[in-house]
Amino acid sequence: MKHAARKANTTTFLAIALLGAMAIPAAAQEDCTGFSFPVETEIAWMKAADSESVEAGAKLPGLPAKAVTLKLKMTRDIALPVKSGRKKQAIGGGTYSGWFEIASLPKGGVYQISLSHDGWIDAAQNGELVQSQTFSGRPACKAVRKSVRYELGAGPLTVQVAGSPVETVKVTIREAN
């Protein structure tokens, strides 16, 4: 009887110890499920070490097949090429904003622009904002906070980020599957 009780106690102790060991990483683990369209490529690009680092206002020659690490500026100190169209409180004065240009999209189609942190994404062509087609976001996903799809034409593209809580963000853009 005593032996059985000791075995039971040992089992319970081990279970609790295992629970404790597993609970910390489980709680810290990000959750990138629940996006309404695929973002596997974006997650891989965001996590890869080969991102292209650029300053706000940079011009890229073509569509990058990897993440762009974009250094933003204080929102109050920067004027975006195209007015974001959002309420001022949606962006906030104490946040960071910036943009980069792609000299030429090779072809028109539906593109997916993703952002690693909180903030607003805008796509602009010919000096005007392009209306988004659809959006998906997961605050619990550390790699991709949100992803927005736009129907874009071939030619120059401006990608704007506004209202980020952090100075450096990662952005990806690729043709949607």
Partner: protein
């Protein structure tokens, strides 16, 4: 090294399984970063998918998220040029409503619409309480011609049937054949959306104010002064209309008593000029609600909650005021030495859109506050901002 006997291992597994069920710490599904099309395995997930589904609008360009963005406390982030964010644009890109899109955060805490024992309308959804429940509210925008613009419930259900995930999920949650019955299917859709709107995404209760109540944060001197003014019946007296849990600070307070008043908000002429309103149109508010109709309700609107109020302007039912300070001064305008000038126009306050039923007694009881007191009150109201939006505070 001794190997653990299989039975002991099995017992540990069983014990963990029990803990899984008891605590939910270990979900049955793996925590992998799969980003395949999401399972709609819970009603909340189904509701979230519906909330963000643009296919539920006539031209497939607008979802609930369009005017209730999670990135701005479930309000509309769009400024819309001359509209200045006062109201929202419809799916067609050119129709404008007449009322401000209220925040959907903490909306689920409103009680169902009812007439109190004293004969007073309380609770309900929309500015005029015309939706009795959150489910009824969720069913409104898809069919509103100046919002999502679907012609009828049948067309909405047809859109639901286009989505294989819905075709799988609806019968699983609501019974076989649910999508074959338009009324049942539409009610199921609104039920799922309402379940999502009751989720913690919408009501985290993690603002600085909440944290201060839990001893996790300390309000600054100005914030504490503003809090005291807010709750003081003799000074700010905000709690007279903006508390649901009785006087004094309480956890999970959403800062509305959910009653209806006419506080004399002027018509928003700018919006009326742009939204095609017929000349002479008057928004009578609660009086247009069939469940509360009567001249005694002309011009009354539901008291809004104040969670995230610092980032959810423009204010009032028609978005006429851009700044929170203006709203505070407007509430104080009828007191003996209250402000007589609208700081946004530099002119005297415009006349109420509806003169009848003006809550003049209540408004005269709001004392005029000093500039520093108003600043403190604003500092306090900023502490009602959910943690994830605090970066937006200036």
């Amino acid at each position: 090294m001794r190997r653990r006997p299989p039975r002991a291992t099995a017992r540990i597994a069983a014990a963990l399984a029990g803990l899984t069920l008891a605590t939910g710490l270990f979900p049955a599904a793996p925590l992998a970063q799969s980003t395949a099309q999401p399972s709609l395995g819970t009603l909340e997930k189904l509701g979230r998918a519906l909330f963000g589904d643009r296919n539920l609008s006539a031209n497939r360009r607008q979802s609930c998220v369009s005017c209730h963005s999670p990135d701005l406390a479930f309000t509309d982030p769009k400024e819309l040029g001359k509209i200045e964010g006062a109201v929202s644009v419809g799916a067609d890109g050119r129709s404008f409503g007449d009322r401000n899109s209220p925040s959907a955060s903490y909306a689920s805490f409103a009680p169902e619409f009812r007439i109190s024992e004293g004969g007073e309308p309380v609770g309900g959804f929309f500015w005029d309480g015309r939706a009795r429940t959150l489910e009824e509210q969720a069913g409104g925008p898809p069919l509103n011609p100046v919002e999502m613009g679907m012609p009828d419930k049948q067309s909405v259900v047809a859109r639901l049937k286009e989505n294989p995930r819905y075709v799988e999920a609806f019968p699983a949650f609501f019974g076989t054949g649910v999508l074959d019955d338009t009324e049942q299917a539409y009610a199921a859709m609104t039920k799922a959306i309402a379940v999502y709107e009751r989720a913690s995404d919408f009501a985290p209760f993690d603002s600085k104010y909440d944290r201060s109540l839990r001893g996790e944060a300390m309000l600054t001197g100005a914030e504490a002064m503003g809090r005291d003014l807010f709750f003081s019946p003799g000074r700010g007296n905000c709690g007279a209309c903006h508390l649901s849990n009785g006087p004094g600070a309480a956890e999970k307070e959403v800062f509305s008593g959910f009653k209806y008043y006419n506080i004399g908000t002027p018509a928003n002429r700018n919006v009326r000029a742009l939204n095609g309103s017929k000349p002479g149109f008057v928004d009578v508010g609660l009086a247009a609600n069939p469940a509360a109709s009567g001249a005694g309700h002309d011009g009354k609107f539901r008291v809004p909650g104040l969670r995230n109020v610092a980032i959810t302007g423009p204010y009032m039912h028609n978005g006429i005021f851009k700044e929170l300070r203006t709203v505070l001064l407007f509430h104080q305008r009828l007191s003996l030495d209250g402000p007589r000038i609208n700081p946004e126009t530099g002119q005297p306050w415009d006349a109420p859109e509806v003169h009848a039923n003006l809550a003049a007694g209540n408004l005269k009881a709001v004392p005029a506050l000093s500039e520093s007191e108003n600043a403190a009150l604003i500092a306090f109201l900023k502490t009602l901002t959910d943690k994830r939006h605090e970066r937006l505070l200036d």
